[in-house]
């Protein structure tokens, strides 16, 4: 459901916190297995009468058929638009009257749901989730309405410098792979999606063998088990087969420019990175924190923003997907300065490639990454998301207790070696949207008909 957009209270900015692991001392994770064999990770917290759940099915928008691209995205937008005997308004009114929050999301690698409920409304709230996952109606009115909204969102992204710069980057780095396409699809593919397609996605993809569940809050294992069974017990055992090929981002040293009449050029840049299960993950995480974390202490911020005033925002981080890993950054610089900002980013990259971090920088980054993690434990919803992430990445239920030690064991030699391996200025692709000056060697790209087909759901640096 889309209420009126608030004109002025929109959150300003992107939250790019590091999400890596939990300190054992702060939370105790328990694995709960229900009668019907549904497994969930639980963190009990009885301080307020609230329960949050995060659940994900492995397999996301990347599994959409090419001619139905946008199917997963459109499906999740319709799951709360009527289910069982409840039409759209009736369903949403019930959610509201329970003061519950239920949302759905389609990412490149997962379809996920988040739920937050009051302790005394758990059963009816979970039952509404069950209805949405098993008996969505896909009535003609909401299907038409949501389709119109998605088409508008696609059109808006094509006119947004940030979304377009990101779209161009993913498209250039992953030609012929679903990661190169927008998870929203194109006008053409979205118009081809039928209610039967929506139903088949639900039938094929929501299954027990790809389900991951994290629960946090005022609930005991004994209370949770029957809820797991009633909510997920009726799902099929197995999801339909579907695979996404492993892929590596293209290595091209280029600046691509798409013209848009805006005062600030939006720059997206990046190169191949590491997957979450790469042995060099932690060294890379530390290197990127030193080089490009969103905070004011990183090297790119120091060089681009603090010393030269070339940007308000500049950052870079690891973005791991299920079948690839990338290093992705962004900056915004007035048109006259964009070329200089790109130069400074390249030079900063080169220095990190050549020399790696200093011992002091590495020590500081370790303190930051280990010390800041507990800050992400401040709400039931955030902890539930982390429980799902750890399971998705198969890090093990004891990961939280080991995380600090793993990070602290990265040596300066590791960090330097990985900087050399990964941070190559010669592999950096910059995509720029705006009217940048002095970028004479840039490749001019003209999105077809002024419009680029599709926009990636991957977006700017993710929370990893």
């Amino acid at each position: 459901m889309t209420m009126g957009l608030t004109l002025r209270a929109a959150p300003l900015g992107i939250c790019a916190l590091l999400v890596v692991g939990l300190p054992a001392r702060a939370v105790t994770i328990e694995e709960v297995k229900s009668e019907k064999g549904i497994t969930a990770w639980l963190v009990e917290d009885h301080s307020i009468p609230v329960v949050s759940m995060s659940a994900a099915f492995r397999g996301g928008a990347s599994l959409d058929p090419a001619d139905k691209r946008g199917l997963a995205n459109m499906t999740v937008d319709l799951l709360d638009e009527g289910a069982g005997d409840l039409d759209s308004t009736a369903y949403q009114s019930q959610v509201e009257d329970l003061a519950a929050q239920i949302s759905f999301n389609a990412g490149p690698d997962t379809i996920s749901t988040r739920l937050r409920a009051l302790k005394d409304k758990l059963a009816p709230t979970f039952d509404l989730l069950r209805l949405a996952l098993t008996q969505p109606r896909f009535d003609p009115e909401p299907v038409a309405r949501v389709r119109a909204s998605v088409l508008n969102a696609i059109a808006r992204e094509q006119r947004s410098p940030n979304a377009l710069a990101s779209r161009l980057w993913w498209q250039a780095e992953f030609p012929g792979h679903p990661y190169g396409l927008s998870s929203r699809g194109t006008a053409e593919t979205v118009n081809s999606i039928t209610p039967d397609d929506l139903r088949s996605l639900v039938h094929n993809r929501f299954a027990k063998d790809v389900l991951i569940v994290g629960i946090v809050g005022d609930i005991t294992p004994a209370e949770l088990k029957p809820l797991l069974d009633s909510t997920f017990g009726a799902l099929p055992d197995h999801a339909a087969p579907g695979t996404v090929p492993e892929v590596t981002a293209a290595t091209k040293s280029e600046v691509e420019v798409a013209n848009m009449p805006v005062p600030q050029s939006v720059v997206v840049f990046g190169e191949p990175g590491v997957k979450r299960n790469d042995p060099d993950w932690y060294a890379a995480l530390l290197d990127l924190n030193i080089l490009g974390s969103g905070g004011l202490a990183s090297r790119v911020t120091l060089e681009v923003r603090e010393k030269r005033g070339l940007a308000y925002s500049v950052s870079a981080s690891l973005d791991p997907l299920d079948h690839t890993g990338v290093i992705l950054g962004q900056a915004g610089s007035q048109n006259a300065n964009a070329a200089q900002a790109i130069d400074v980013i390249r030079q900063t990259w080169q220095r990190m490639h050549d020399d790696g971090p200093t011992a002091k920088e590495l020590a500081d980054a370790k303190t930051y990454i280990t010390g800041s993690f507990p800050l992400s434990l401040d709400s039931t919803g955030r902890i539930a998301s982390i429980l799902v992430s750890i399971q998705f990445d198969r890090l093990g239920i004891d990961y939280l207790g080991k995380r600090d030690q793993i990070i602290n064991s990265v040596t300066l030699a590791d960090a330097k070696r990985v900087a050399k391996r990964l941070l190559s200025p010669d592999n950096l692709l910059f995509t720029v949207v705006g009217q940048p000056e002095n970028l004479n060697d840039a490749v001019r790209v003209t999105p077809a008909g002024g419009i680029v087909q599709g926009v990636s759901g991957n977006g700017l640096p993710a929370e990893h």
């Binding site: 009126g4 300003l12 848009m260 805006v262 005062p263 202490a297």
Partner: protein, 451 residues
Amino acid sequence: MITPISRGGSRAILLVLFFVFAIALPAHAKLFDAETFTLANGLQVVVIPNHRAPIVTQMVWYKTGAADEVTGKSGAAHFLEHLMFRGTKAVPPGGFSRIVAQNGGEENAFTTHDYTAYYQSVAADRLELVMKLEADRMANLVITDAVVKPEREVIIEERRMRIGNSPSALFDEQLDTALYLHHPYRIPTIGWESEMHKLTAQDEQAFYKRWYAPNNAILVIAGDTTAEKVKALAEKYFGPVPSHPVPVRQRVEEPAKVAAARLSMKNPRVTEIQWSRQWLAPSYNRGDTSEAYPLQVLAEVLGGSAASPLYKGLVIDRGLALSAGAYYDPNQFDLTNFGFNATLKHGVTVPDFEAALDDIVKNALEGGITAEQVERAKQRMIAAAIYARDSLSGPARIVGTALSLGRTLDDVQNWPDKIAAVTPDQVRAAAKAVIDDETAVTGLLMPGPTS
């Protein structure tokens, strides 16, 4: 992702130092178990214990913002927020952020028309460190031309990003000048670009000296600590910061509004018509403040739910809009606004849409707001208030906002009771008082070539 409490609107544009979240929170919740005391130098301290995780958030709120700028110096308050990270006698430029990061902390700051706030979240055992740092920059900031020059480019770049690159933000700036005829809320928090270019170290020093003082600030500490511990640390670090007289926040009075305004803007980057209509409205502080609670219920009744007249009527039943809603945020030092907004469905004309909307609103004003709708809205709002306690910084923000606007902890704690006490008659009366065709500001942001 659904943000549960972002539906209410706020006319204050929050400006943050760098890319991190900043959400205005209209929803309050009771029972934060907050304690408050005041140091000898006038600094009010609030402690909100929360022992879920071994972490704390420190927030310092200054009771001043962009509406307190000298004429012609727009952007000065927000610029100062940036300069607060650029060094003191004891900490070199950039040192503040480096020290916080080295200690595993997160930090940021934000500026509105009415207040400016700074915060850090750290492990509980680092609280003393961030209190020391924050107390230091309350009085010892060093503002030099060397830091002003590049940082001024940064805030202008921030303006390009937030405003220049966004047709809707550009248009909102213009709408504010129509809504507020005289009051400084008509001036953007980030500043007009022509004036930002001219801001000097001297201007910033003057704003700092005039408004930044312990007796014009509130220290909020939330998290894994106690009032006793905080009191000792506050006395140690903030206690010695000297107080000095601070002017009364007295902004020019807004004259009576007698004309309706209609603004339109075309931009090729707009895809569908974005329609809005707003009115000046009482806040918690100004105007008929007794309407502040009924107006919150009114916004929820009219546009806050799937079955609400605006959403169901315009989006679902009549199929005229892709989205439609109502907004109201009473957290403003002076007058605030109440409004409706919608994105029109492709092909729907403005007259057709407005006729339908007028019909729905007229119906609501003439008895269409039922007791059952009001009761349901109130129940929903009160039940959801518990979620405000489901984070560390949420309660700190709610309390800090309220106190920096001159309200009290009791006002915050009593929010659910105040909402519960609102009657359908009060909602209808508030609607009639605020929704007035003669003074509406209507905005139309439309697709099309720039003129």
